[in-house]
């Protein structure tokens, strides 16, 4: 489930203060909000017309809403896909807004059933009406992930399924009983397996978008998803290019977050990293009126960052990724040894190995500071890591000295990809400097997350270098996945790589489950995370990664999107 797989990311150079990019919305209160009604807020200076170029190295993995699970594409395909709820980023502030829904959902039973009102008068690209039945069909399709692979599994994981429904292709006679449309078709009700307070975040994913049965072409739907947004696909030559033109049936008055400034959007694939970077640096050709969704500035970062010449078209912002070391609590049982590891790791050499302060910002927590309801700035190993990221050698040595028979032989597992080996070496050196002996366990890219989750195997690593990209910008999208030991199996830790399984913490998790209002729940999850880091030394947070992108000089409205942590073309417009 470690998502937002990004292409061509190596790490980088440059510094830019990323501004706070989202405020976590309260999902329970569903009072109608005037800003939920279209049209989207005015973008200052934006004009209509022209062709927006999007230049990418690789084609989109999938654009079928049931199959797409890639951050940049989730952001981009909002041009033609509308979902139940969606993120809106205006002036650096991100909030959850209803998209084809008219509200953010209401629940009367602590989040076990959710009812969303639906927006009236929505139309597809052929002028036919978008119905509640289409939304239900879109969700049902995602159950056929044997045929439609690649997407999120949230619909199966969360929705109740008493009749063991397997998708419209497998069981065309049945339907998913947990999704019900009101008789008038103006609202939809979801029955969940258990109380899920963060459900309105989950409904931003493509599985919760309407698909007309008449146009469902199974796997081929990936070539032409039926548009509900401001653009439609005019042509799509896989691996080469895609052209989007205006969808005249889209009504801005029904959409609180989208604009349609360019006349045409041309997406071209097949560029080479360095050549494309160079094109943006020199602002030449199509790059002048273009941007890229998958090519970060890497080799030219030293030239571009902090240079006034590029300031207006260079974007450095928080990615959704937290990089960290998980300490295996199964194999490193002694708290003092875990604390010694936490003290020994030198965040400075680690971040330098990744590219220095342009690659990320030191982290004391796996929750980015922007998630303000849950994040808190607590010290790790007695120091503020942002001020003092260096290894705390004396403290680590003292902890080891105070521990009789301390485990000093560690296995460090890391993935053979990009800067990750160099980062692991940095950690290895720091650990060895305080008296550990570190055996490096280099694992192949493919299957890495499966391998490091295995419990009770021979050569099970003690320290695991890993990362997490949140699926929605809230602690509920991070802490449950990474630190909750309750769903762990004897053979598989799932994504709880530190195998944390502390009874006192489980009680807190249960309390968080029962707390349905977003703000107090987020606070509880923040408490849990702080305790596990400070009192149990379950993980060593390293840094929150920064993304670095460039856009052409003739584009306005390009901005980082807080919902996905990607560079967004949604409000891009062409300067005359």
């Amino acid at each position: 489930m470690n998502i937002h797989r990004k292409a061509g990311l190596i790490g980088s150079v440059a510094a830019l203060a990323a501004t706070a990019f989202y405020a976590v919305p309260t999902a329970t209160a569903a009072t109608a909000n005037p800003s939920w009604v279209g049209p989207a807020p005015v973008i200052k200076g934006a004009v209509t017309g022209g062709t927006l170029n999007i230049l990418n190295q690789g084609d989109f993995e999938h654009i079928d809403p049931a199959r797409n699970y890639v951050g940049g594409t989730l952001d981009f395909y909002r041009f033609f896909i509308r979902t139940l709820t969606q993120y809106r980023t205006i002036n650096g502030k991100t909030e959850l807004v209803p998209d084809i829904a008219a509200d953010l959902g209401t629940t009367k039973d602590q989040g076990k059933t959710w009812v969303f009102k639906l927006r009236p008068n929505l139309k597809y690209e052929d002028g036919t009406a978008i119905t509640c039945a289409d939304l239900k069909y879109g969700i049902e399709r995602s159950y056929n992930d044997d045929i439609l692979d690649g997407g999120t599994t949230y619909a199966h994981d969360l929705l109740a399924n008493p009749t063991d429904y397997k998708g419209p292709y497998t069981t065309p006679t049945k339907n998913l009983s947990s999704v019900t449309c009101s008789p008038k078709g103006d609202s939809v009700k979801f029955d969940l397996q258990q109380a899920t307070p963060y459900f309105p975040f989950v409904t931003t994913f493509g599985a919760f978008s309407p698909v007309p049965v008449a146009h469902d072409t199974k796997q081929n739907y990936d070539l032409h998803p039926w548009s509900s947004g401001p653009y439609k696909i005019a042509s799509y030559d896989r691996g080469k290019q895609m052209t989007l033109v205006r969808n005249k049936f889209w009504d801005p008055n029904t959409d609180p977050l989208r604009h349609n400034f360019p006349d045409t959007i041309k997406v071209k694939f097949g560029f080479e990293q360095n050549a494309l970077e160079q094109q943006f640096v020199s602002d030449s050709g199509a790059a002048q009126t273009g941007m890229t969704l998958d090519t970060e500035v890497v080799t030219n970062l030293a030239t571009v960052s902090g240079n006034d010449k590029y300031k207006s078209r260079f974007f450095a912002f928080n990615s959704p990724y937290a990089r960290y070391l998980a300490i295996n609590m199964d194999t490193v049982k002694d708290l003092n040894v875990r604390k010694a590891i936490q003290c020994a790791v030198d965040l400075k050499t680690v971040l330098l190995a990744a590219g220095g302060s342009a690659a990320g910002r030191y982290a004391n927590s796996l929750i980015p500071s922007n998630i303000s309801l849950a994040y808190r700035n607590f010290p790790v190993c007695g120091r503020d890591v942002k001020m003092n990221p260096e290894s705390q050698i004396a403290a680590a040595k003292a902890l080891l000295a105070a521990t009789p028979n301390a485990k000093k032989d560690l296995i460090l597992a890391y993935r053979d990809k990009g800067v990750e080996p160099a980062r692991a070496e940095a950690a290895q050196q720091a650990l060895q400097a305080v008296g550990f002996t570190v055996t490096m366990q280099k694992l192949p890219r493919a299957g890495y997350y499966t391998a490091i989750g295995k419990r009770g195997v021979s050569g099970e690593p003690d320290v695991i270098q890993t990362s997490w990209g949140f699926d929605w910008p809230a602690a509920s999208g991070i802490v449950y996945a990474l630190l909750d030991g309750r769903t762990m199996l004897a053979t598989d830790s799932h994504s709880n790589y530190s195998r944390s399984n502390v009874p006192a913490i489980q009680t807190l998790f249960e309390k968080a489950d029962a707390t349905i209002a977003t703000a107090p729940q987020e606070k509880l999850l923040g408490d849990i995370e702080q305790k596990l880091i400070q009192d149990y030394a379950a993980v060593v947070p390293l840094y929150i990664e920064t993304s670095n992108f460039m856009a052409g000089s003739k584009l306005g409205g390009v901005q980082p999107d807080g919902g996905y942590g990607t560079i967004s073309p949604l409000y891009a417009w062409l300067k005359k």
Binding site: A14, A15, N300, A302, L352, A354, A359, Q429
Partner: protein, 320 residues
């Protein structure tokens, strides 16, 4: 006018090896190339001394030599060249490039020489057997040799390395370079022996019908005696040349394998790995790419030129 008397040099009998040596001694290219090769060998052998002089290790990070705000590139000119770090430091880690360079030479030479030795022994043996016995044995060995030559060696090496490594690890060899380097040597030797075997076979076929072999055979010499005492001593010249020309091939293969990820495991120093790491920085820190590149270039050139000179010296027909 002609002088009278003493300056006519005495005519002396000189053995072919003596002739070859004198020819080699007069060859300037041979001297230059030999010097290059010797410098690299001495440098590789002396790498612990350099480590002692510079007072750091090739793996040690030096965060203070890096510019945190500018992509962790080395501080200072030319990739951080200074009195302490003679060739600068590696971007992002600050590891000393000079030490990694000399230790990299060690890795390259060690693996190339070991692979050459294995390939030569195997190649000579198979060439001798194939050429001497002829017939079905020759048919079989020659076809095997052709099959091996027809393999896409680099691709095959990439595929077979993890497999062989697994076999070694399962039989108790420690993980990491302790099993990876032997695997590299085996894989490289596997694709190196046919070249030697083919040359040796050809030579043996022409030698085995010669009079001295016939004579020995008539005197009742055993096959072993014929092969190892009569024929093999006459083959050292072509073997020497092939060896000298094989080493540079193995050096580049070793670097290529490491570059492609089937080579030496880091943090051990290696030129192929240095080249790989320098790629993202070629525009901002070109020296980092040049150093391992020039090292490879000089060492390969040195061995090649030296091999050529040896061949010229050993070939009585070559006039230079």
């Amino acid at each position: 006018m002609s002088s009278t008397g003493t300056s006519v040099p005495a005519i002396e009998g000189r053995s072919p090896s003596r002739l070859a040596w004198e020819k080699l001694r007069r060859d300037k290219t041979a001297w230059v190339s030999m010097t290059i090769v010797l410098v690299f060998i001495v440098m590789a052998l002396a790498s612990p001394i350099f480590q002692w002089i510079i007072k750091t290790t090739p793996d040690a990070f030096h965060p203070n030599t890096l510019n945190d705000a500018r992509g962790a590139l080395p501080l200072g000119k030319l990739g951080g060249v200074s009195g302490h770090h003679w060739f600068g430091v590696e971007p992002r880690t600050g590891r000393d490039i000079f030490l990694r360079f000399v230790y990299g030479a060690r890795t390259s030479l060690l693996i190339a020489l070991a692979a050459t030795t294995v390939a030569t022994v195997v190649g000579v043996l198979i060439g001798l057997i194939s050429g001497f016995f002829g017939g079905r044995i020759d048919q079989f060995l020659s076809r095997t040799l052709e099959i091996v030559l027809a393999f896409p060696s680099i691709l095959f090496a990439l595929a077979i390395t993890p497999v062989l490594e697994g076999v070694l690890e399962n039989s108790g060899v420690p993980k990491g370079n302790a099993s990876r380097i032997p695997v590299m040597i085996i894989v490289m030797a596997t694709f190196g022996w046919p070249y030697i075997a083919r040359i040796v076979r050809g030579q043996v076929i022409s030698l085995r019908e010669r009079e001295f072999v016939e004579a020995a055979r008539a005197l009742g010499a055993t096959r072993t005696h014929l092969v190892f005492k009569q024929i093999l001593p006459n083959l050292w010249a072509p073997i020497l040349v092939t060896v000298a020309l094989n080493i540079p091939t193995f050096i580049t293969t070793e670097a290529a394998l490491t570059f492609l990820g089937a080579g030496v495991i880091e943090p051990a120093s290696d030129w192929g790995a240095m080249l790989l790491h320098s790629v993202p920085f070629y525009s901002v820190d070109p020296l980092y790419t040049f150093i391992p590149g020039i090292g490879l270039f000089l060492l390969v050139l040195g061995f090649n030129l030296f091999g050529d000179s040896v061949r010229d010296a050993l070939d009585p027909k070559s006039a230079r």
